[in-house]
Amino acid sequence: MTVTFSTPTLETERLILRAPALTDFDVLADFYASPRAEFVGGPQSRELSWRNLALEAGHWVLRGFGRWTLVEKTTQNPVGIVGLWHPEGFPENELGWDLFDGATGKGYATEAAIAARHYAYDTLGWTTLTSLIAIGNDGSRRVAERLGATYDSDFTHERFGPMQLWRHPGPEALT
């Protein structure tokens, strides 16, 4: 039996959300090697970055959903990774966002997360969604606030440490 899985492509005003691809590797490796990765298990080596990119791609195969690479329409550059995440060890389905160097301050995480959240509610039929925010990651917390999420509870991730679990408005609150 052959298993093929295709990741849907989404589009927002300024971004294309597409499947993670090999061409994302260099910019992803730079991100994971930078201080910006301190809240997601980094900084780390290119070898581990390779595993992370493969994990992003394979999450779609194992779960049927996953995260998208954000491509900036004007430049065609990959600028971040946003989407739906539930690896073993996470308490619930998560909406997560990471922006690469130079892509912050433009509202891209919020713009992409809104599209991903619509996909979760409208296409996958989910009824709730959380985001895990590392303690001290104020940029990420502000994105959660802009998305209308509110603090729900504390959660300690085995590798990423203490985090806050924020909960998004449900589908009925967004219509």
């Binding site: 039996m1 052959t2 298993v3 093929t4 899985f5 499947a19 993670p20 691809a21 090999l22 290119r46 070898e47 390779w50 595993r51 992370n52 990119l53 493969a54 994990l55 992003e56 791609a57 394979g58 999450h59 779609w60 195969v61 194992l62 779960r63 049927g64 690896p87 073993e88 060890g89 085995e158 590798r159």
Partner: protein, 170 residues
């Protein structure tokens, strides 16, 4: 020509990883059988590893196959390439000791070797094996891998590096 997504040997089907393989793979990761590859690993580590296993196919267009016997996944075999500047690494593993001693890993590895080095004309692959993993060394020798004095990668310190080239794949 791209790598076949399914291959068939006398006793095995070799196919791409799928979600239903995760529970037996997680059991394998928790077992002493991962002692030669940095284990044992907990369920969260097993998920990350198996997702990367599946994602390798999506990124590179080739990857490791699940060995399936009578409908059940029993191990994995095939190439992986973390760094495109290095030759692909060839690996094989049976997930439970009850599948050992029947030549299944050798059968699968020889078949995938023929596909990659023969059909696809890959020039070479490398194999990393810890020196006390005598079972795997035996398989490497049976499929025609030759031992080198090359230095193993930093993430697999102490491993012996074998080389597989098209010449031995008749």
């Amino acid at each position: 020509m791209t790598a076949a997504t399914t291959l068939t040997t006398d006793r095995l089907t070799l196919r791409q990883p799928q979600a239903s393989d995760l529970p037996p793979y997680t059991d394998y990761c928790a077992s002493p059988r991962t002692q030669f590859v940095g284990g044992p690993f907990d369920a969260a580590q097993a998920f990350d590893k198996f997702a990367a296993f599946a994602g390798h196919w999506a990124l590179r267009g080739f990857g490791r196959y699940i060995m399936q016997q009578d409908g059940a996944p029993i191990g994995h075999v095939g190439p992986m390439q973390r760094d495109h500047r290095q030759p692909p690494e060839f690996t094989w593993t049976l997930w439970d000791s009850r599948y050992e001693g029947q030549g299944l890993a050798t059968e699968a590895a020889a078949h995938v070797r023929d596909h990659l080095l023969g059909d696809l004309r890959w020039p070479e692959m490398i194999v990393h094996i810890l020196p006390d993993n005598s079972g795997s060394i035996g398989i490497a020798e049976r499929i025609g891998a030759t031992r080198t004095d090359d230095t193993p990668p930093a993430w697999y310190e102490g491993a012996v590096v074998y080389r597989l080239t098209a010449e031995v794949s008749a």
